[in-house]
Symmetry: C2
Subunit: 239 residues, 2 copies
């Protein structure tokens, strides 16, 4: 913090403080991001990441502001949410020097809403969205933010339980493996995957609950053990 506070509030050029949320889910084994149509300029009418000003009167902190955006604009509650990075500078927003604390959120695939309190939600496949110079490019630096979220999710999925937050409360191990494979973009060895899930000691079988109905052996249903509902389980050496 500076040794010299500003002489008066007018001396301090206004910094626009916002949060942006990259809400990701799996649709058809591919990661999709939630976009909302902007109601106001700049970029009115364009599809962009949900976000909003930080409300210093009511928001406990930036994470609470992001949770409020998720609830108020997307109708999404209680999902996994983590801070991603802060994007700032004079040129990213035409309104002036701005700062966005970007967050990343994961939504179970079986709970994807098409309509939120703030209008329709468009779910866009992240493939070809986070690169540069796309046909359907995102406004502001939102493509960079989505790219950072993707990198974070893929990186953390290599050594943690992060992808369980893309599953519902109960899931089979083949389903969970498919989620990991979708996020990582590569097939995984079944035996190694199960060994790792066993080592993580993060899952417990739901007693007596099996997924049946298909023309094959039923699969055991699993759920996340209580200590790992909020925090992640980590492996030492990946996978």
């Amino acid at each position: 913090m500076s040794p010299l506070p500003p002489a008066s509030p007018e001396d301090v050029p206004h910094i626009i403080c916002t949060v942006d949320v990259v809400l990701l889910t799996l649709i058809g084994a591919r990661l999709h991001v939630a976009l909302l149509q902007r109601a106001q300029a700049p970029h009115a009418g364009e599809w962009a990441l949900p976000g909003g000003y930080i409300h210093a009167q009511t928001d406990e902190d930036a994470a609470a502001a992001a949770a409020r955006v998720l609830a108020d604009k997307l109708g999404v509650h209680g999902v996994y949410l983590e801070q991603l990075a802060t994007f700032s500078g004079a040129r990213r927003d035409p309104r002036g020097w701005s700062l966005a604390v970007a967050h990343c959120a994961l939504l179970p695939a079986d709970a994807v809403p098409a309509q939120g309190p703030a209008g329709a939600i468009r779910w866009v496949d992240v493939a070809g969205l986070a690169g540069t110079g796309q046909p359907a490019a995102l406004p502001f630096d939102h493509a960079d933010i989505v790219a950072a979220a993707l990198a974070r999710v893929r990186s953390k999925s290599q050594y943690s339980s992060l992808p369980v937050h893309l599953c519902g409360e109960r899931f089979t191990l083949p389903q969970l493996q498919a989620v990991y494979e979708a996020v990582l973009g590569e097939p995984l060895n079944k035996v190694s995957f199960r060994r790792k899930m066993d080592e993580l000691a993060m899952l417990e079988p739901v007693p007596g609950a099996m997924q049946t109905g298909a023309a094959n052996r039923p699969a055991q249903l699993w759920r996340v053990r209580e200590p790992y509902r909020q925090r992640l389980a980590l492996t030492q050496r990946g996978l």
Copy 2:
């Protein structure tokens, strides 16, 4: 971003936007963090992380503000600098709702200044500083910020070339291994360490340069290859 811009600037409670820097270096094989004595309230006279307001007029972005703080308050230029996380909320600073984009910087051990442009620099061993309720506790939430920096550096050191930024331009492999061991807090296997450094392909021997003078076989001096001066080299499986 919100669909409804504020009716007037006065409607927006002021958010104090700052950057804080956790500048780390190795002193006697232990990580130390640079602290400055605060000249102004709050916490005037206490030793705290160097930081300052973001200058929207002149700072390109938050990273530039952090680099400016490093230069102006510590006299440190050109070191490795990365964004850590953003700490925000109403209660972390008595002046009001504040937001600090924390950064982490690494300084070569052979270039530790004791005096900066803003006065003396105190280098404090991070052991017992980042926990809770220390005798020499840091003001604001700076203990949390230091803890986050430590966690980041230790985590990244497990699978990247990050610690080379704690070394000078030239170093021997035994020196580099000692740096890794100091950061990670555990001894490493010499053969494995050298295999990994070889795989990373990030170092090159300085032709003909050996570290001599000791009563033993001279050690080859190495430097970081050009492509890795700014970005990190990453391993797949750690170490």
